[in-house]
Each structure stands twice: as structure tokens, then as C-alpha cells.
Symmetry: none
Subunit: 226 residues, 4 copies
DNA sequence: CATGAATGAGCTTTCATTCAT
DNA sequence: CATGAATGAAAGCTCATTCAT
């Protein structure tokens, strides 16, 4: 069997496609989209190639044609959701002259992205359940989003203008924000049983968002002693 | 079919067991132990009853005898890991007269428990992947650990003595600590790819622990305005 | 899954079997019998587990239960046909005092066994097509039939009484007889195209048998010079 | 569908080919060569069109273009290996005035051809496994090599000069030589297990060759009684 | 209390082949 | 002359579960 063209997204955008090639890309894209949905719903083992190809109104066989095997499809899924996250993030407009407000917007963006894209959280959990074996297989080299870089900029600006502490590392701050957003979303089912409270309610989320923002601001506040 | 004894741990401890009942309990316990290991390793779908019964040096049939079916076994697994967590937590000795030190110890306990019991984190992720359907089926009523109660006590004492803010809710503080500990452990594989750093190294963990403690302390610090 | 008892034929014969065990052995035996037929008919790749289990009026699943996998089944098939050959051979009654007649009977036995058991020839061809990988996997240690031993005896007796040459090795004589019988049977289809003659006709076989016997006798005739 | 050129080798050699026809013949030839290799390695069922087209650095589709379907390809393979055998045989130079030496050379040629072209032996076995159905489909009419004719000549000359028996049929002698060479090669894997000896070693082959030659000479020796 | 036997549905993957350019 | 896309069937194998002692 012949390997289909594994062009990157950019290549495809720049090339003029014939009608057959367009249809082919549509098939590939619909399989990928269906895979995201089905894997997020049923897990890697539970999400069968049959369920996916049916959801994409295509055939099992096409998954092997375009992605080699089920694992290759999952690698593509992981790449795709990171790509989407990075695209969304790149649209975030920040005024670096206002580091406090920028940080607030970053926190809001992350928390809301997790809330609005539960499949992102779920698929990342699945990947961690499999010890990150697919992310390692992938040749996609853009996983490290610009997030940390942006936070670093904000942190530096804030430190220079004296509104932020100088001791904080961008990595720690990033992980803190991500953790507080991720855990809320990822563990909402067991947490609900644990806390006896529905975390999917809008009020619960808003309250948590406020808490996270205020906590983050306390964390980056300059040392009072200085 | 004969109903197998579905006694809780307490019941069993209080009763005198005949030699056959002892053997039966040993079979049940070894199946449960194997199930924890296999489910954590392979997931719910990937962890077959065959793998589990073999790991327990028992037979498929016994799983049905003791737990009804595979789902029943997983319910028992979830119960068991919560039970273990609660037992470990109950052994934590806190001096309520020193709320700062108590809080630090709570943070340490949680972060280290997650680190030392990766199967706890993994199995909770699996349960959330399945939208908490097993925790709902369970009749076990002790999921809400005493953790929040303890934090509440510490928080109250701290507020009274003026070392803590009065505005914080125990629930939020608990979730914050849990999130910071859980995310680090649960997502260590994708984070390692993302950050280009091995989070399983001792130094990385120690640094994170210090960061979390200092962040928590900043969060509960009394409002400077007051 | 639990491994079924892999008892040898002897063990089974000596033990008293319950009704369930008898039925189980019947299932295993009928799968093995069907496998011999189907593999000989369709080859290793062409003989699907489905065809075999259906021919045995059993289920795919049972092949995996009793033989592990398809390869395990083929190993058992190879063992079985050798076993059958050895049993047939052991029934051959020879008068060692008449080495000429004994040799003739051996030649007849081999040629006719190949003719009457085409599946033996076919399955051996299949095994050789696969470079003997299954015969190597087998723990069955009785492949080397007693044939060579018998021929050796006949040869020795014949040499002592002066009717046979003293220079012949039993191995060469055995291979010669086997080759002449095997090739005729194994390659009868291409040979028929090649020679334009139907080798499956009784007259053709009889003629060949006579030729082989006379050739063998010439081969073992004592050196005229002596 | 457009009919591809199904020219025989002779036709092609006699015609002057354009550059495109040359390229086409190269594709066809490389597919055929790859098919011989892959079919000999994996069998008819195991040798997929995909494996073959990849080995030929061509595409699945081309097999259908040039050979109709997989079966047509195998027919072409069988034709090709017979063609090659006949070509090699035709290069054998014999001195008919020396029938003894000629016969020796024929035996050597056949045994060594089988040894040096294991794919010939393997593919013939495969064809026999399929009851010769492809050789029957073929329109190639040159399967009956000149071998028998040559042997007949040698036999006649030898009989006239009194060095050979007059009773032997060329067909039987041919089959005898072929059997002794073919069996040794074809069954070397199971024979090795059977005899506990590696038949692929040079010394083993040489010994067998000597044995076959001496046996053949004994077989055709004139009747001592005459 | 435990076990060997059996079952049917489902899994991932590969197959030979055809279609439309 | 060659190719990328698509297809339906069938392959080997594993699954959770039940039956009969």
C-alpha cells in the first residue's frame, strides 16, 4: 500500500489542490475530527476504529490508509489538539504595559479554554495514562506553547515596574495556573462526589475563577519586606 | 447463584473467621490488589479480567464470584483506594495550636501521598474519564475525607489568632492544594514533553513542593490592609 | 484465561476421565482432525481458524483455548501426523532373516503410506515452506522414526549374509527410498504437466513402485568385484 | 480497461522497443522478479500484492495492469522459473560419445540447479500445494524441458555401446534423478530435524551427490546376466 | 469453594481489487 | 503510463461472561 502524503498543515494551505486531493483532505480531516470526539468519549481502548470511521462516515480501512494504524491516529489527535490550543492562545491580545491585567487575562484564557474544550483535558489525561508514549512518537515539535514565554514577559515587565515579585519563575507560575484550571475540569466528577457540589454549574466555575485569579495575584505580589 | 459475602472491612475485622472464610478473604483481597495494579497499568478497558486473575494467581471465575462483574470489581477498587487514602490521612498528627506548621504538613502529606501512590492518581483519572459512574454506584459513603474538616479547623484557628486571612473557604484551599499536587503527578508525562524537564527527578519535586508551600502560605496570609 | 491440560496421549489413556473431560478431549481431537484436513487443503495461510473450527463443528475461540494460537495448532498438527506415521510403521512386521524381502516391504510401506496419506506429504511440504519453524518449536521428541534403525538392521543382516553391499549407509538408503516415494506424490501435479501423464493412475503408481524396488535392490547389491 | 502487452519473451526480443515500451518492460520485469522472491519467501497467500509491489518499488495497481490479478502474476512466475530452468539446461554441453560421463553431468546439473535456485523448488512446491491449477491455466507450452529427450539420447547411445541396460525408460531415470535432488533440497528443514544433521552443509551435499551418481550408475548398469 | 469448558461479540489489521483521474 | 483514493470482506485474536460440575 502507498503512503498518503503526510504534508504539514502549512504545505497544504500553500498548495493548490485538485478536486480529488481536496476530497482526500476532507476524508482525513473528518477522520481526525471524529477520532478526537470518540477517543475523548470512550478512551483509547474503548474508542474503536469502527466507532471512529462510522462517526466520520468513512471506512475502517481509511484510518490505516491515512494514519498507518490506530496508534498513529492517536498521535495525530494529540498533535491536533495541541495545535488548536496554540492557535487559540496566539489570538490572545495582551497589553504588556499592564502586567496585572495581562496575567488576569492569561488565567482567564487557560481556565476557560479547559472548560470549553473538555476533550483537550480528557485526551491529555488519556495520554498520561499511557505514560506519554504517543507524544514521544510524534515528530510534531511545537508542543511547548508560547504560554511560558508570554508569562515570562509579563513577569519581567511586572518585576521591572515593581508590581510583581522578582523571585518567581515563569515555569512555576505557568504550572500553577494550569494545575488550578486543569484539576477543576479533569476531576470534576470525583470532586463532585467528594465535595457534594456540582462543579459544572456556572456559579461554581465563576467562583473558582475568581479564587484562582486572586491567588495568582497574591503569589506574584512583591515581597512586603522589600 | 450463591451470594458471596460482601462484608465491609470493619465487619470482617470484628468477626472471628473460620479457616475457609480466611482463605476466601485472602482470594478476594489478592484479586483486589491485583486489580488495583492492573487497572492502574492498563486502564479499565485494557485491564482484562484475565490479566487480573492471573496476576492474583486466581481464576477469572472468582472475580464474578466475589465482585459480580468487572464493573463491580472496579467499584471495589475505587472504594479501596479512597479507604487507603483516608487511613493514611488519619495517621497525620497535627498540632492545631500551630496552624502555619499544620498547613505545611497537610500540603506535604498530600503532595507526597500522590507522589508515592501513583496508582491512586491514575485510578482517579480513569474514574473521571468514565464520568464518575462507578463512584456513583458505590454504596461506600466515606469518600469525603476528613481533609476538608481538618483544613477548616486549621483555618479557623489561624484566623482567630490573626495569622490567617478570614476570607478563605476550606473547600477552595483544599482544592488548591490538591490541584497543585495532583496535576504535577498526573500530567508528568505530557508536562515533561512540554517543559523539556523530567518532573520525576527528586530535585524537581522538592522545588515544586517548596513553591506550593510558599504559595499556599501567601494565599492564606491575612489581608495586609487589615 | 486458564491453560487447558496439555497432557500427553499416554497420560490421558491411563487416567480415568469424567464425562466433562471426555467431551473436552473430543473437542480438542475434532479440532486437530479438522486442522489436518483444512491445512492440507488450503495451506497454512489459506487454512483459516474459522474454516477449521467450522469443520470441527466448534468455535474459533476453542482453538485458542486448546492450542494457544494458530501456530500452536499447526505445531500440534505436525506432531500428530508424525505420531500417526510412527504408529503405522511400528505395525510393519519384518522377518529379519530375509533381508531382501524385508527391504522390499519397507519400500512398499513408505511408498504406499505417502500415496494413501497425501495430507502427510502436503503438511510436510508446508512445514518446509516455512523453513521448519514449527517442528523446532515442538517439544515432541519422536520425529526420528524407527525407520532408519530398522533399515540399519536389515542392512547389517544382509551384509553379513553376503546378499547386500557392505558399503551402504542406512541414512542414504532411507533418504533414497523416501525421496523416490515423496517426490512422486508431492509433485504429481507439476509432473503430470511436465510428463503429460497422469501419475495418480493405479498403473502409473504400480510401475513406479516396481522401478523403485528394483533400483533399491540394485543399489544395495554387493559389489560384483568382491 | 486497456489491454497491457502480454507479449512473450521472444516477441519482445525481436521487436525494436521505444523508450516508453522499454520503461514499461522494466516495470513488468521488476514486478516479476520481486514476485518470484516474495512468493518463494511467503507463499502464495502470504505473499501479498502489497509486499510484491513494494519490493519492486512500484505500485499495487501495476500488478493489475500487467498481469490482470494476483493469480495471473503467479502464472507468470511459474512460466518464468521454468523458462530459466530450460535456458540453464540448454547451456549444458554433453559429449554423447561418452554416455557415462554425460549422465554424470546431467545428475550434477540437476542437483546443483536445485541447490542454487531454492526459489525454483519452493515455487514448484507451492504450485503442487495448489494442485497445479496455475500451470494448467498457463498458455506457456514449454514446460516439458528437453531433459527427458537428452536422457533418452544418452540412454540409447549407452545401450547401443553396451555400457547401459536396455530395459530402462528415460522417464523413470529422469524422475529418479529429479526426486533424489528435489527431495534433498525441498525437505531439508524437516529432514534436518529428523536426521539430526544439517543438510545445508557443503560436505553433506557433496556426499549426497556422490551417492546419487553412484546409485544412478548402478541403476543403468547392464544386466549382469546378459 | 473452586474450576475447566464453552460462547458470541468485538477487536485491530490486512487482503485483493476497482475507481477516477 | 501511472497514481492516489476508496472499498468490503475476511483475517487472527481477545474480550467479558456463563455453564456444568
Amino acid at each position: 500500500m502507498i503512503q498518503p502524503p503526510k504534508d504539514s498543515a502549512q504545505d497544504i494551505a500553500q498548495r493548490k489542490l485538485g478536486v480529488r486531493e481536496k476530497a482526500a483532505q476532507a476524508t482525513r480531516a473528518s477522520l481526525l475530527k471524529a477520532a478526537i470526539k470518540i477517543f475523548a468519549q470512550y478512551g483509547l481502548d474503548g474508542g474503536s476504529v469502527d466507532k471512529i470511521s462510522k462517526a466520520a462516515k468513512s471506512h475502517d480501512r481509511m484510518i490505516y490508509y491515512y494514519f498507518g494504524n490506530k496508534e498513529g491516529l492517536f498521535v495525530a489527535v494529540i498533535e491536533e489538539i495541541y495545535k488548536r490550543f496554540n492557535i487559540a492562545e496566539s489570538k490572545l491580545k495582551l497589553d504588556l504595559l499592564d502586567p496585572l491585567r495581562s496575567l488576569e487575562k492569561i488565567v482567564q484564557f487557560i481556565l476557560r479554554y479547559y472548560r470549553d474544550h473538555p476533550e483537550f483535558v480528557t485526551l491529555l489525561n488519556i495520554e498520561n495514562l499511557h505514560k506519554g508514549k504517543h507524544i514521544g512518537q510524534s515528530s510534531f515539535r511545537d508542543y511547548s506553547s508560547t504560554a511560558i514565554g508570554v508569562i515570562d514577559q509579563v513577569l519581567t515587565t511586572g518585576a521591572q515596574t515593581g508590581v510583581f515579585s522578582t523571585k518567581l519563575k515563569a515555569r512555576d507560575l505557568y504550572m500553577m495556573i494550569a494545575a488550578l484550571g486543569y484539576f477543576y475540569q479533569s476531576n470534576r466528577y470525583t470532586l463532585s462526589a467528594f465535595l457534594g457540589e456540582n462543579l459544572e454549574a456556572k456559579s461554581a466555575f465563576d467562583q473558582w475563577e475568581n479564587f484562582v485569579i486572586s491567588t495568582v495575584l497574591k503569589t506574584i505580589a512583591p515581597d512586603p519586606s522589600n
